[in-house]
């Protein structure tokens, strides 16, 4: 524990407060306040000791061979926003493509040059009006989820685990060489490797870009200053599309990596707990 960063120590202090109900009492008794989700992180440790102490009546050895290592990688707000985002992005992209189909061009209306013929089967909403209904409904969900995500990341400083920073730069190439050129695997130092940080941080950028350009497309007159920032209504439509392309570039790679890393890794985004993480 000595090598932990200050932020984690804070968590720890909070977590080591007495937790009488975690093992002995039924689960429901400890469930009253939502704040408790953070306490779970260290409570089991205390619980295990207490349990062992009851049985053996003597101090617990520091390392039990049959114990499982686990890390609480994804706090509840992160998991909620991850899945709400996954659903929202699916709806926004598929309905967005249906909207794009109504005028699949970034040029003038006359003469209209079709840029992309998007198959109807890849789209949602049935027709332009239907797609707009989906888009105008899920944009709120996407925005709310984004606000919750940002609020939580800043408040909890959890972003330190995933935000790409200049000192991660040197780790990008070794990781890329491992992924794409079968190079040696660099040792894991934290929850995410530099390439993961780069990818996740980029998606935050795509999210912000898609939201801001979406506001311009939705209300260019009311938010004329924002339209001006993006070079006007017409350009904002291109930026909006580009943001989606960014997501579409990220998602397949993300899904492939999830598939390659198996169930425990996937399950951690549902339960928060990563069993036997590859770092100390």
């Amino acid at each position: 524990m000595s090598n932990e960063e200050p932020v984690d120590k804070n968590d720890e202090q909070k977590d080591t407060s007495p937790q009488p109900d975690v093992t002995g009492a039924p689960a429901e008794a400890g469930e009253s306040a939502p704040v408790k989700m953070e306490e779970v992180a260290a409570a089991p440790e205390a619980a295990v000791k207490a349990e062992a102490g009851e049985v053996a009546g003597e101090p617990v050895p520091a390392e039990e061979p049959d114990l499982v290592r686990a890390a609480y990688e994804h706090p509840l707000p992160i998991r909620i926003t991850h899945w709400v985002n996954a659903i929202s992005l699916f709806v926004m992209a598929t309905s967005g493509l249906r909207i794009f189909r109504a005028f699949p061009s970034f040029g003038p209306k006359i003469p209209e040059k079709v840029l992309l013929d998007i198959p109807k089967s890849l789209t949602l909403g049935g027709w332009l009006g239907g797609a707009l209904q989906w888009h105008f409904t899920f944009m709120w969900l996407f925005a709310a989820s984004g606000a919750l995500y940002f609020g939580y990341q800043l408040f909890s400083r959890h972003y330190r685990t995933m935000l790409f920073s200049p000192r991660d730069l040197s780790g990008v190439w070794p990781m890329a060489r491992h992924y794409f050129l079968f190079g040696p695997k660099p040792p894991a130092t934290g929850q995410y490797n530099p390439l993961q940080k780069l990818a996740y941080t980029s998606t935050i950028g795509f999210g912000v870009l898609s939201l801001l350009t979406g506001i311009v497309l939705y209300k260019p007159a009311q938010f004329s200053w924002l339209a001006f920032l993006f070079g006007g209504y017409h350009l904002a439509r291109i930026w909006h599309f580009a943001a989606m392309c960014g997501f579409l570039a990220f998602i397949p790679g993300h899904l492939i990596m999830v598939l390659l890393h198996g169930w425990e890794n996937f399950y951690s985004m549902l339960s928060g707990w990563k069993r036997e993480p590859g770092y100390e």
Binding site: A102, F103, F136, P220, A221, H234
Partner: protein
């Protein structure tokens, strides 16, 4: 931070945390078309409410110099049915009804006698294309003053010679850039662009810009399912920019 668990305990903690995610599963309701159709329609109603609350009459749509206007022949003709409903331009009058002091028939000359506004603004289609055009006409607000309309009423309804119909929130109607448009590119409106009179509101999407105006009505009540040709099929009613 690494924690050590008994296997059973880790499984229990994981299950507990998993259950806390259950509310997100409620979004699965959108997989049922019967429910989702209604939910996304409500989503648009909420968006329209927010758009109405956000609308500011002093926020102007961008205007453009003459050199930025597309040539007339590159300004698309758009209609839902026929492009020329063969309005008798000689006998045409605008019928004014509803919550006004002077209802009746108004000639084009009476509208042209009001202060003339020329503006180069962007016409934005819900499909995604946009085109900058040159428009001339009278402010709708000036005409409403002329007919003694109660501008604290909520809506302006319009009916058109091609049986198109629309309704617009009063705040947008009273916006200084909202015109009863009788000219494009300095010429009288041509038949396919809506002669003799159309709406031109750069704070609204194209489908709100009804052409070939026949009747306007100031009212506080809209008939459900009769709020606008496209709106009744699912487009946003507010349709604002």
């Amino acid at each position: 931070m690494i924690t050590r668990f008994e296997d059973k305990e880790l499984k229990r903690q994981s299950r507990r945390q998993l259950l806390k995610l259950a509310p997100v599963a409620a979004l699965g309701i959108f997989a049922f078309p019967k429910v989702s159709d209604r939910l996304v329609a409500e989503g648009v109603r909420f968006s329209d409410w927010a758009a109405g609350a956000l609308f500011r009459r002093q926020h102007y749509a961008q205007t453009f110099s003459n050199s930025e206007v597309v040539p007339f022949e590159k300004f698309p003709y758009n209609g839902y049915d026929v492009l020329d409903p063969e309005v008798d331009l000689e006998k045409w009058t605008l019928t004014v009804e509803g919550d006004v002091q002077h209802p009746g028939e108004y000639k084009l000359a009476q509208i042209q006698a009001l202060a003339k506004i020329n503006q180069n603004t962007r016409h934005v289609c819900v499909e995604g294309w946009d085109v900058v055009g040159a428009f001339g006409g009278a402010r709708i607000s000036d005409f409403l003053t002329l007919v003694g309309a109660n501008t604290s009423a909520r809506f302006l309804e319009v009916e058109c010679a091609d049986d198109y119909y629309e309704s617009i929130d009063m705040a947008s109607v009273l916006h200084p850039q909202s015109l009863l448009c009788y000219e494009m590119y300095g010429q009288p409106l041509d038949r396919k662009h809506g002669a003799p009179l159309r709406l031109q509101m750069p704070t609204k999407l194209g489908y709100k810009q009804a052409k070939y105006l026949d009747t306007i009505r100031v009212t506080n009540v809209l008939k459900p399912g009769k709020t606008g040709y496209w709106e009744d099929q699912g487009y946003s009613w507010f349709g604002g920019l």
